[in-house]
């Protein structure tokens, strides 16, 4: 990585854009899926309704970040897109099924006849779990460079479980922020349980990546890099500790800090993502294909970049507007 190829700024820009889209997806749809995963942890139908209402105005736009992320992979790095998606054929198909089930259950559970509602709740939760699990599966498989065999498969299953737990964590923290009364207390309880599994997950993944790849080991555990990088794991650990303390002392007297667990979890997502991005740079397909080798023609990337730079600020603006309209504690949602 000493000398960059000429014109490298374009692939780098797109790799950054893609990574940001994926990260935003993981945080934003992460809490949607998390709420879905937790949906049936309570038997109480009104509480479930409030949980769904808290994510109702957001989930669609949140899922669009996945379309943008994979879209950027598709348009900026077509060769990698083909390699990655054919290697991940089964988890991708499963994830899509999960996302389909979760997405339609939003509408059906509100519109289908009342006796069918519990069934759509099951579809909602099942879809959320399947989607989260298969995203974790993909992550595990990606980390191991799409290696095959039982060990790799086992690792991917493990990252699948950890991802379900990480999404449940951020979903529960979302409900601590947006929920009230009994729901908020329940959510704090759920968050505590998910916290420890997620913590274990981060440790396992952090330990595995340098073990399986000497290149990544080299990148992290050599001086002076180690000193510069130390803040990443330290900050992650600190945030986990903060969550642990905050959730144990919950409920607090006033609600002014309800957003803290969500923000802390989102920050953990960012740090983990940063760690992974540092490990794999400049590869888009681990150890096989760099972003420079996989990039599309410059003239095509430029025309997308023009559009992206013109439109992304507008997307940011109206996303802010929507978050303002539906800000604060979740209220019931009425159609029309």
């Amino acid at each position: 990585m000493d000398t960059l190829p000429p014109g490298a700024w374009l692939p780098i820009t797109f790799a950054v854009l893609m990574a940001v889209a994926m990260l935003l997806y993981a945080v934003l749809d992460g809490f949607d899926l998390g709420v879905g995963i937790l949906l049936r942890a309570t038997e109480d139908e009104p509480t479930r309704d409030r949980m769904v209402a808290s994510i109702g105005p957001f989930w669609d736009a949140n899922e669009t970040w996945l379309v943008l992320g994979v879209g950027l992979l598709l348009v900026a790095f077509p060769a990698a897109h083909g390699l990655i998606l054919t290697a991940l054929y089964i988890p991708v198909a499963l994830m899509l099924m999960g996302l389909i089930l979760r997405g339609v259950a939003f509408e059906f559970r509100a519109k289908a006849p009342a006796p069918q509602k519990p069934r759509w709740d099951m579809v909602f939760q099942g879809g959320s779990i399947i989607a989260a699990f298969s995203q974790g599966w993909m992550l595990g498989s990606y980390i191991l460079g799409f290696a095959e065999g039982w060990l790799a498969f086992g690792f991917a299953m493990l990252t699948g479980v950890f991802t379900v737990s990480a999404y449940a964590l951020i979903g529960a923290c979302w409900l601590v922020w947006r929920g009230e009364g009994a729901l908020q207390l329940l959510a704090a309880q759920w968050a505590r349980r998910a916290l420890y599994i997620s913590w274990a997950g981060v440790l396992v993944v952090s330990a595995t990546t340098p073990i399986v790849s000497p290149r990544i080991f080299e990148r992290w555990f050599s001086l002076p890099e180690l000193l510069g990088l130390a803040p990443i794991p330290l900050a992650t650990g600190g945030l986990f500790l903060l969550l642990h303390i905050f959730l144990r002392r919950f409920p607090r007297v006033d609600n002014s800090l309800d957003w803290v667990p969500f923000a802390a979890t989102a920050a953990i997502f960012v740090l983990c993502f940063q760690g992974l991005a540092y490990s794999f740079w400049p590869y888009v397909v681990p150890e096989k294909l760099t972003i420079f080798a996989a990039a599309s023609a410059p003239e095509s990337l430029k025309i997308i970049l023009v559009g992206a730079l013109a439109v992304l600020p507008m997307i940011g603006l109206y996303t802010f507007f929507i978050w303002r309209i539906f800000g604060g504690k979740a209220r019931e949602l009425r159609y029309y």
């Binding site: 139908e45 009104p46 479930r48 309704d49 409030r50 769904v52 209402a53 109702g56 105005p57 669609d60 899922e63 669009t64 379309v67 943008l68 879209g71 950027l72 348009v75 077509p78 897109h81 083909g82 390699l83 998606l85 054919t86 089964i90 198909a93 899509l96 099924m97 996302l99 389909i100 089930l101 997405g103 939003f106 509408e107 509100a110 519109k111 006849p113 509602k117 009230e180 009364g181 729901l183 599309s296 023609a297 003239e299 095509s300 025309i303 997308i304 559009g307 439109v311 997307i315 109206y318 996303t319 929507i322 309209i325 539906f326 504690k329 019931e332 949602l333 009425r334 159609y335 029309y336």
Partner: protein, 448 residues
């Protein structure tokens, strides 16, 4: 089994399922805006009743469209990696513009449109309806641009086997784009008008004669009656455009095996690829020539001229007849409907016929897309990439597994969709709005 065939069936199943829902939402967005504007102007509650019902249909259709659309964006990679590798430099930016200019817009403002009434000023709610309608149409625009370019590619050059863009204006306004776009937008309008008329007629037959229901029924019938002749004109123009750029598709549509001067119009036949003839043919002399070339002795090329570069005749031929047949039926029903309503108001017989036509738009739209997409074969991108070349390395058994999963899922969802539409329609027009959940017993939250 042949993995390419399986991948094609899977993509066809996916895109067929997907197109059902955008076909509704593209036009329904504008119809909702119309209803909302009528309400804003007149203050007549019937318009708002109609809006409240149809916005739910919109929400349901939109959700199904989104999830099946996400699936397709992944299937490019999982099943057709060769497509993006060869033409990614063109397809990529067009898809990116769709996501950037349309997807976020519609997904964000849909929330305001669905749940914002009462939370935001009425004008912002109307604006959100406009932005959602604009977003769905923008999405349709970009995807039609890409699809049309795959039929009639221009504005590119091939370097090292990879397509590079040379002229974006030519790519976007490629020769078949305006015709396909007009044809599809009108198809969407017709699908929605018959859906509105049919579902409202069903409510009417069940005894709900409230103004909101009657208003929606009439809006549907009148809209259909206006759009169908325009659609026939647009379809004819699209056909002439196809004759110019993809004559082999026209030959298959018309069942013309050998080049003819002044061909007749084949109304019905059983095309036989083995002997390159039509069996049981019923045809009107010279009419085909009149329609296709606007003269009595125009020359139309037959399938045998194109060697291997022509689509399978039978599916294109039949699908075309289904599309045109449904179109003619739409013309008869909507015009008869307008006439009846003006003379005698809504009658039980009219309502029954309209119920029968509820999903006619879906049938015609699917048949039309089969004509144009099968008609492009054996090419994925005309003259540049054959369908078989784009397929990926995934094993047949894996594809078969995912195909079965998708088919089961789509069948179940389609059933749930139609049953839910009927369930919604069973309820009276003016009733308590249902919440995203059910009754609310949690601590009430004071309004901001």
């Amino acid at each position: 089994m042949d993995p390419i065939l399986l991948a094609r069936i899977q993509f066809a199943a996916n895109i067929s399922f997907h197109i059902l829902f955008p076909t509704i939402t593209i036009a329904l967005g504008w119809v909702l805006l119309f209803l909302k504007l009528r309400f804003d102007k007149t203050g007549d509650a019937a318009w708002m009743d109609a809006y409240k019902f149809w916005v739910k249909v919109f929400a349901l259709s939109f959700a199904l469209g989104v999830v099946s659309g996400v699936t397709m964006s992944f299937q490019f990679g999982t099943n057709w990696p060769g497509f993006m590798e060869r033409v990614g430099n063109i397809a990529g930016p067009l898809l990116a513009y769709e996501v950037l200019t349309a997807f976020f817009l519609e997904a964000s403002f849909l929330a305001v449109m669905l749940f914002g009434y009462g939370r935001v000023p009425n004008r912002i709610h109307t604006l959100a309806t406009l932005l959602v309608a604009g977003g769905t149409s923008a999405s349709a625009f970009w995807i039609i641009v890409l699809n049309s370019w795959m039929h009639t590619p221009v504005g590119y050059e091939i370097r090292d086997g990879v397509v590079h863009a040379t002229d974006w204006m030519a790519i976007i306004f490629n020769p078949s784009m305006p015709y396909r776009l007009a044809h599809m937008m009108l198809a969407s309008g017709l699908t929605v008008s018959f859906l509105m008329a049919g579902l409202s007629a069903w409510r009417w037959l069940r005894g709900d004669h409230s103004p909101g229901v009657v208003r929606a029924l009439k809006t549907g019938v009148v809209l259909g009656a206006i759009l169908i002749p325009i659609q026939m004109f647009a379809g004819d123009a699209h056909g002439l455009n196809t004759l110019k750029h993809q004559p082999q598709k026209i030959a298959a549509m018309e069942g013309i095996w050998h080049t003819e001067r002044g061909p007749g119009l084949v109304l019905f036949a059983v095309p036989d690829a083995a002997t390159q003839t039509n069996k049981y043919e019923i045809k009107i002399p010279l009419l085909g020539s009149l329609i296709l070339t606007h003269s009595l002795d125009g020359e139309v090329k037959g399938i045998s001229e194109f060697g291997d570069n022509h689509p399978p005749v039978a599916p294109v031929f039949y699908a075309f007849r289904i599309m045109v047949g449904v179109g003619v039926l739409m013309l008869l029903v909507s015009w008869w409907g307008v006439w009846t309503i003006r003379k005698r108001g809504i009658t039980p017989w009219l309502a029954r016929v309209l119920v029968g036509m509820t999903f006619s738009g879906w049938v015609a739209t699917l048949a039309g897309w089969y004509v144009t997409e099968i008609g492009r074969q054996p090419w994925l991108v005309t003259g540049i990439l054959r369908t078989g070349e784009a397929a990926g390395p995934v094993a047949a058994t894996t594809i078969l597994g995912s195909l079965i999963m998708y088919l089961a899922l789509y069948a179940a969802l389609l059933l749930a969709y139609i049953l839910t539409l009927m369930h919604l329609a069973r309820r009276p027009a003016a009733h308590e709005p249902e919440k995203l959940g059910g009754p609310d017993t949690l601590k009430p939250v004071p309004a901001e």
